[in-house]
């Protein structure tokens, strides 16, 4: 028998308070399965740490993990299942903005709090059901501005090409950058690519033909490796400057020597700045447990989980409205591993500091380095 979050049914023979259920909807399968899997690990890490530290006022946190399948409909189903069958009041997820859009109204109706680590679509900001949705990722708008700034800083009327994933993430960033560049640069080519396809030679060829000064890229480590590798093959580097997104800045990207060498030469990126020491501790713990580097959104999901746990502790009830309020109060200059977190009244992270980063070579290995901070 599984403990119920209501607190009134107690497994016989135990004196411990009943478990507190925490739901998780991550995309373990589908197009973003690579990320989804690692996010689950970070959540498990956070919960394990919290349980070792005494849980929620003595109660153990019990995780219920569902697969959102990178599909808004499936994500919605997963949320309904967690909310009804498992009686979860708080759910970490869903991972993609689409699933947030499909389940937002339901979350409000049924008073289930959704905390997403990665749904970055600016569209979500204005939704009527925002009371039960909070996110620890900054929206694409903010990053878009930061990326645009690098271009405008370099001079006016530069030629810009886009090479972005054809999903809400990539297109969102492309739109945000385009909006910020309006009148200040010319867009010469926009390629939206499918991140699950593994071959972008022709697309890159096309960009090359447009002879841009800058190429704005939005993607993740996995497709970025291929993009940069093949860009290197086609000689699509200096003097052309690539500007890529935070999704790329993962240790994994640099494991490929060819891609890393190319990045060291021709690629810079933007990234919300994390507070170094906190992130390093998290990274070490993650590495110790899973023997791999944490990737994209692992920091925000870790923060989301910790915020949820802290809020449940503080609210001391199973009332999701109170928990939501608690998250917003705790989330004022909260020291997260993904940097300081401050929510506005909707539960969106207000402006973050971004850095411009690059890649440097040390002997045979490559590492990320901060070039400068971007304040927009």
């Amino acid at each position: 028998a599984c403990g119920s979050g209501n607190g009134n049914t107690t497994p016989s023979g135990t004196t411990q308070p009943p478990d507190v259920n925490l739901g998780v909807v991550m995309d373990i399968s589908g197009a973003l399965s690579g990320i989804g899997g690692s996010l689950v690990k970070s959540i498990q890490l956070a919960v394990e740490q919290a349980n070792n530290a005494g849980g929620i006022n003595g109660a153990k946190i019990k995780l219920f993990i569902e697969d959102g399948k990178t599909d808004p409909a499936a994500g919605f189903e997963a949320i309904k299942k967690l909310g009804t069958i498992n009686n979860c009041k708080v759910i970490i997820g869903p991972m993609i903005s689409g699933a947030v859009m499909s389940s937002g109204q339901w979350a409000l109706d049924n008073k289930v709090l959704l905390i997403s680590p990665s749904a970055t679509s600016p569209d979500i900001a204005q939704q009527a059901w925002r009371q039960f949705f909070i996110r620890t990722a900054t929206t694409d708008d903010i990053q878009g501005k930061a990326m645009a700034k690098i271009i405008t800083d370099a001079g006016t009327n530069k030629k810009v090409a886009f090479m972005v994933q054809n999903n809400q993430y990539g297109v969102g960033i492309a739109n945000a950058v385009t909006a910020s560049l309006a009148g200040k640069a010319t867009i010469v080519s926009t390629i939206k690519y499918d991140p699950t396809k593994l071959d972008y030679l022709s697309e890159l060829q096309q960009i090359k033909a447009a002879a841009p000064d800058f190429i704005v890229h939005a993607g993740y480590e996995d497709d970025a490796i291929i993009v940069f590798k093949q860009a290197a093959q086609l000689g699509l580097g200096k003097p052309i400057q690539w500007i890529t997104s935070e999704g790329v800045k993962a240790a994994k990207t640099l494991t490929d020597a060819q891609a890393a060498a190319f990045m060291a030469q021709s690629v810079v990126g933007t990234n919300p700045v994390s507070q170094g020491t906190l992130f390093d501790t998290f990274k070490a713990a993650y590495k110790a447990k899973y023997n791999e580097e944490p990737g994209t959104y692992n920091d925000t999901v870790y923060d989301a989980t910790n915020l949820a746990i802290a809020a449940m502790k503080q609210a001391g009830t199973n009332d999701s409205a109170k928990i939501a309020a608690a998250v917003l109060t705790i989330g004022q200059n909260y020291a997260g591993v993904s940097g300081p977190i401050t929510f506005n009244q909707y539960g969106d992270r207000t402006s973050a500091t971004f850095e411009e980063w690059g890649v440097v070579q040390n002997g045979s290995t490559y590492t990320y380095t901060q070039i400068k901070l971007i304040t927009s």
Binding site: G30, N87, G98, M101, D109
Partner: protein, 310 residues
């Protein structure tokens, strides 16, 4: 309403929607032998048509009807080149059509908001999920009943006989005066329209659709329902739809209690595959046998052979 009950009803809506689509595949494949692996395309066309129409202010009952018509139109459009192909080619071409359509919706964001998807305003603004659920149950249930009886009428009529004949040997059917292109196109239109209705109901229920809700896996799921339930049996495919839903949800819930060292999603998919293979191997006709054409002619012939039994 009790939460568990909500979940069960919620599952029932899915059973209903997928039953409708499975019935449509039964018309195409079960009776006519058309290997339509583009089911998700018409489901998607229905869903998007409905969403766009409702957004444009068309009342939802009309929008469902129009979604069916639009899907039927596309069914016709695709069928014209496709039904001249061999069955395996037809399967691959229709499968690709589904993929291309999804890419199209993604790429052409002027049409349907591209990767962002469309929100569908609820048909009854109840502002309460449980009420919404009950309305949807009734709606989906009613349409399913209509589709079921429609299919039954069709299967036990001369037209149903022609469908089966096309499945067996289309050249022979042509040689006895049945215009195979016309009949196949008609079947494709019926199937697409029904799948479109299913899509419209889906969009109406879920309230928000994006291209990524329409992956080829949906086609495979529907095929599994038909193969499992029994191609050529209308009751069968509905049972198949219910069984697949039960299986999917059952395994999801079960994994909360049984802890496996492996990823439950993987286990679920592996089981999914195994079940199909086992069914094909040990019960290739599905759980329910294909129903014989039962027309007046059959009964008349029986009396002829056996005049004593009235």
């Amino acid at each position: 309403m009790d939460l568990i009950l909500v979940y069960v009803l919620n599952a029932l809506v899915y059973v209903g929607i997928f039953s409708i689509v499975a019935l449509s595949l039964n018309a195409e494949y079960g009776y006519t032998g058309l290997a339509s692996f583009g089911k998700v395309a018409y489901f998607m066309i229905g869903a998007y048509s409905f969403a766009i129409l409702v957004e444009a202010g068309v009342p939802w009952p009309l929008a469902i009807g129009l979604a069916a018509v639009i899907a039927a139109f596309f069914g016709l459009l695709v069928s014209l080149p496709a039904i001249r192909l061999r069955e395996d080619y037809l399967a691959i071409v229709t499968l690709t059509f589904g993929e291309i359509l999804r890419i199209f919706i993604k790429a052409e964001d002027w049409l349907a908001n591209g990767v962002w998807g469309i929100s569908v305003p609820p048909s009854f603004a109840t502002g309460n999920f449980s009420k919404q659920l009950i309305i949807n149950i009734i709606l989906v249930g009613a349409i399913l009943v209509v589709c079921y009886f429609f299919m039954r009428l069709l299967a036990n009529s001369p037209f149903g006989r022609i469908m089966r004949a096309l499945r067996d040997d289309e050249t022979a059917a042509d040689a006895i005066g049945k215009n195979r292109i016309k009949y196949k196109a008609q079947v494709f239109m019926i199937g697409s329209a029904m799948a479109g209705v299913g899509g419209a109901l889906f969009a109406n229920f879920i309230g928000y659709i994006t291209p990524d809700s329409f992956l080829p896996i949906i086609t495979f799921t529907i095929w599994m329902m038909v193969i499992l339930g029994g191609p050529g049996s209308n009751i069968g495919v509905i049972v198949g739809a219910a069984a697949v839903q039960l299986f999917e949800r059952g395994t999801i819930i079960l994994k909360d209690y049984i802890h496996l060292p492996v990823d439950p999603t993987n286990v679920q998919n592996i089981l999914f595959g195994l079940i199909i293979i086992v069914i094909l191997m040990y019960r290739p006709g599905g759980l329910f046998k294909e129903s014989k054409v039962n027309t007046l002619g059959t009964r008349r012939a029986m009396r002829w052979l056996n005049p004593s039994s009235k």
